[in-house]
């Protein structure tokens, strides 16, 4: 399934990228996170299970069980700190 990844703030810095297109085997957000971690590289640290992070699917905050859809925009970022 073809999706688009986006990274923000400290996750963007660790990844060294603000995002890219990606071909995934995963069905859910949580599976995608694990898939990226297992692929290695900076994602192993940025998205690791020891990190508190939040995820958005098509610009809506979602839990790990949320189902991926073709062409979806998936964002990974740390807890938000605006205001």
């Amino acid at each position: 399934m073809h999706i688009h990844l986006k990274f923000f703030a400290s996750i963007r810095e660790t990844m060294g990228s603000s995002g890219h297109a990606y071909e995934t085997q995963s069905q859910t957000l949580g599976q995608l996170r694990d898939e990226l971690v297992q692929a290695g590289g900076p994602a192993a640290q940025a998205l690791g299970r020891d990190r508190v992070l939040r995820m958005a699917l098509n610009q809506t905050l979602c839990e790990e069980g949320a189902a991926l859809t073709p062409g979806a925009e998936i964002a990974f970022f740390p807890p938000v700190t605006g205001g």
């Binding site: 923000f8 400290s10 740390p78 807890p79 938000v80 700190t81 205001g83």
Partner: protein
């Protein structure tokens, strides 16, 4: 909330604006009021940049600049949904949110939330509700630059507790 065809997002009509430039609170209040004579109360919250961080509250000057990053598109969409929720919960005529991004210095304004209602109670509540929601659910990230380098600001559990008071349990920190 869907907008009518041909709706143009501009400074005079948009409920949510994200911008790098400073803003004028009086102009924003006037734009929210739009000379609506039903309005008898406008409550505003203005967040400004501090010169010290939460871990070092006694150390004046420990924060020299604050840089704000956001998720374009999602930020506007999420705050717009928060305003819709405020309209469901409170008897208000309108809400306006302006949030700055980019580089800022101590004392500069960061965020404005303004709510209008017939009497003060509803606008006080709506203003606090939108602010509590925004703090923990809108995709912004703060990075402080101080004497000892730059660091991302940590989310606070107390902000999750503030949102939980409204019956919304969406932990961020």
């Amino acid at each position: 909330m869907s907008q009518p065809p041909g709706f143009i997002q501009n400074a005079a009509t948009a409920r949510v604006r994200i911008q790098t430039a400073r803003f004028d609170v009086s102009q924003e209040i006037a734009a929210l009021q739009q000379n609506d004579p039903r309005i008898g109360a406008v409550c505003t919250f203005l967040g400004t940049v501090r010169d010290r961080n939460v871990h070092d509250a006694s150390h004046a000057g420990s924060v020299q600049t604050l840089e704000l990053e956001h998720y374009p598109g999602m930020t506007e969409k999420s705050i717009d949904a928060m305003i819709d929720e405020a309209h469901k919960r409170f008897d208000i005529y309108g809400v306006r949110v302006v949030h700055r991004v980019g580089m800022m210095h101590p004392t500069e304004p960061v965020v404005l939330v303004a709510a209008a209602s017939a009497h003060r109670g509803e606008s006080f509540k709506a203003c606090e509700f939108v602010m509590d929601y925004l703090k923990t659910q809108a995709p912004f990230w703060k990075k402080e630059q101080g004497l000892e380098g730059a660091q991302w600001v940590d989310a606070r559990v107390s902000d999750d507790a503030a949102l939980a008071r409204w019956g919304i349990h969406k932990p961020n920190a």
